[in-house]
């Protein structure tokens, strides 16, 4: 009896070991590919900038100090890095507003899609994915063609005599937001739709039977049930929006830096790779903290699905 158990245990151990061995190469590749470059970035952030780009292998905490503090080049006083804070804040604000805008547009879209008949649903899903066939840069330039002074909107309004001079939309914050919402909308719609599709609409009917108002049904039944989709969509939009690079430059005119432009400056004309590395890691940490806070908060009040 005991011997048999021992044999079974040994077999199990062998089994576990074999599995680890078999998956080791894949794990190793993933580990190296995922963490290797990040480790290099981390190491670089503690080095001295080379004279013309690259790094000197000499420890220096300067990069990290200058992420948060700046020495005024004129009166030599050390103070909080106001420029960096402004740029960080601008990017975070843009990412939050983009997330809210895509949510406001994406939720009704997903609801509409999920409430169609089974056959037409696939068609709507297909239509939503069409923008993904085109490169992000091209889609951004398409928006530019629509909103520029001699673009489609202004030309039509001028021809109709509604306005007498073109409305300046391009190179404003509105232009950036229009572009961002357009570019990231599918990333919001798809996860919400995936949740919505599984939604048991009999629950909605039951709500109405119990004299719930439309708003109450939305708030108490539909929203809690599709919450996982909303969370997934928000994360999918927020993270790339925080690092948005092309859209703010093309539609905003590049006058005001975003985080990604600030980092690019350090690796390009600024020739301060350690500072660029330190800034990149700071962004990663912010994203991670924001996600942790968000998921934890959302998890607390969430209703279990199924």
């Amino acid at each position: 009896m005991a011997a048999a158990e021992e044999v079974a245990k040994a077999a199990e151990r062998r089994d576990v070991r074999d599995r680890w061995l078999l998956s080791a190469p894949a794990l190793l590749v993933i580990l190296l590919a995922a963490t290797g470059p990040l480790l290099i970035v981390l190491v670089y952030s503690f080095l001295t900038p080379g004279a013309y780009g690259d790094v000197k292998w000499q420890f220096s905490p300067d990069a990290w100090i200058s992420v948060f503090m700046e020495r005024d080049i004129f009166d030599d006083t050390l103070s909080l890095a106001a420029a960096h804070v402004t740029i960080f804040w601008r990017s975070i604000k843009l990412a939050v507003v983009t997330t809210l805008a895509t949510l406001a547009l994406g939720f009704p879209t997903a609801y509409f899609m999920a409430t169609r008949s089974e056959k037409t649903r696939d068609l709507w899903l297909f239509l939503i994915t069409i923008p993904f066939w085109t490169n992000l840069l091209i889609r951004t330039f398409a928006v530019l063609q629509i909103i520029r002074n001699e673009g489609i909107i202004n030309t039509i309004l001028l021809k109709l005599g509604i306005i007498s001079a073109p409305i300046q939309i391009l190179y404003t914050d509105t232009a950036i937001l229009i572009g961002m919402a357009y570019v990231y909308l599918p990333l919001m719609v798809l996860p919400i739709y995936a949740s919505m599709e599984k939604l048991d609409f009999r629950l909605v009917e039951a709500g109405y039977d119990l004299y719930a108002t439309r708003f109450k049904v939305l708030r108490k039944i539909i929203f809690p049930l599709v919450k996982p989709g909303v969370i997934a969509g928000s994360i999918l939009v927020f993270i790339p929006a925080l690092g948005a690079y092309v859209t703010p430059v093309v539609l905003g005119g590049g006058k005001n830096m975003m985080l990604s432009n600030l980092i690019e400056l350090q690796f390009g004309q600024g020739r301060n790779w350690p500072l660029g590395s330190a800034l990149s890691i700071t962004v990663m940490v912010i994203v991670m903290l924001a996600l942790l806070a968000y998921v934890r908060n959302a998890g607390k009040s969430g209703v279990r699905h199924g």
């Binding site: 420029a83 005119g253 006058k255 400056l265 350090q266 690796f267 004309q269 020739r271």
Partner: protein, 344 residues
């Protein structure tokens, strides 16, 4: 029987391919995008039976960083004059001694012995130009030969001016405008520069590279720009004029160098010599729309460039031109801070 024929065929194919490789050399060029005339390359390929491959880059820093990592497979690069001394100092270049090449006699005297490459030990001139101010005269008719268009924008142009976001060029122009020397680290001057830039920015509509299209479409009415870009804009819209700022303007040049890690050194040397031929130099100019530094190339130049005010600097503006230099790293750091402050 069958395997024998296969083997023979394979052997023959192998022979043929190696034979081909020997007869037709290759040359890998690493150059700025939209800068290399396909016609001239075709001519070079036909003449020497060399297959040319061109890869693009978009900034001096990108090119330097990539070549410094090594293993690029490129034979030739085209850095700007401010960067050539760095490439030399970092040991990235092969000393091909173009000064002794057959066609070197064509290089204009003022380009034969430049400060960035004394005696032309490494580099051959590719193109040179200026950085000035472009104005659409339909929008503004006043005097435009000043950086004031950008830094002290007249009312007609407020909210319609673009600035090409090339940090070194913008700081250079601002220093000239406040009356300082390029690459200065004088805090008093730099403070004026910072205040000038910060005060000027609200009048700018954008900081973009894409000026040819935007000036053409009327999104911008004025911009800081390179002369070749200005020429293309004028050809599209005759109201667009290029101006040489009286406070001083920057001169630049791009130069063809051979990398130390080049695998096709002889072909690269042939190319260096080839583009110093007047007709070929004119062919390059006809495409990128900048001047070359080759004497005798004018008779092959396209008609619309021969007397173009963007290409031929007027005599009275000439003394105001100044070669841009690479500033010291510590100075560069100050500039980056001002630049970040400007764009925050």
């Amino acid at each position: 029987m069958n395997w024998k024929t296969t083997a023979t065929a394979m052997g023959l194919a192998l022979l043929a391919s190696t034979g081909l490789a020997r007869a037709e050399g290759v040359l890998n060029i690493y150059n700025w995008g939209n800068y290399t005339s396909p016609d001239v390359i075709k001519k070079f390929e036909d003449k020497y039976k060399i297959k040319v491959t061109i890869t693009d880059y978009d900034s001096n820093d990108t090119a330097l960083a990539k070549v410094r990592q090594g293993g690029t497979g490129f034979d030739i690069a085209v850095p700007s004059q401010t960067y050539v001394p760095i490439w030399i100092k970092e040991g990235l270049l092969l000393e091909t001694d173009p000064g002794k090449m057959e066609n070197f006699k064509n290089v204009a005297p003022e380009w034969a012995n430049p400060e960035f490459d004394p005696g032309r030990k490494y580099s051959v001139p590719w193109a040179w130009g200026t950085i000035g101010v472009v104005v659409n005269t339909d929008a503004y008719k006043g005097p435009a030969d000043t950086w004031g268009i950008v830094f002290n924008t007249p009312d007609e142009l407020k909210g319609k001016v673009n600035v090409v976001p090339e940090m070194g060029d913008v700081i250079f122009a601002a220093i000239k405008y406040v009356g300082g020397q390029q690459c200065t680290d004088d805090k008093a001057v730099l403070k004026k520069v910072r205040d000038l830039l910060v005060a000027a920015k609200p009048n700018w509509i954008a900081m973009e590279y894409n000026t040819i299209e935007k000036m053409g479409a009327g999104d911008f009415k004025a911009t800081s720009d390179w002369n070749g870009s200005a020429l293309r804009q004028r050809l599209a819209n005759a109201a667009i004029h290029y101006n040489y700022p009286k406070e001083g303007f920057g001169l630049w040049s791009d130069n063809v160098v051979v990398l130390k890690e080049a695998k096709n050194v002889e072909n690269a040397k042939l190319f260096q010599n080839f583009i110093m031929d007047p007709e070929n130099a004119a062919g390059l100019s006809a495409f990128h729309r900048y001047a070359n530094a080759i004497t005798g190339s004018d008779k092959y130049m396209p008609a619309d460039m021969k007397d173009a005010p963007e290409v031929v600097i007027p005599a009275d503006a000439k003394p105001k031109g100044e070669f841009q230099k690479m500033c010291a790293p510590e100075t560069q750091e100050l500039y980056t801070k001002i630049w970040t402050e400007l764009q925050k």
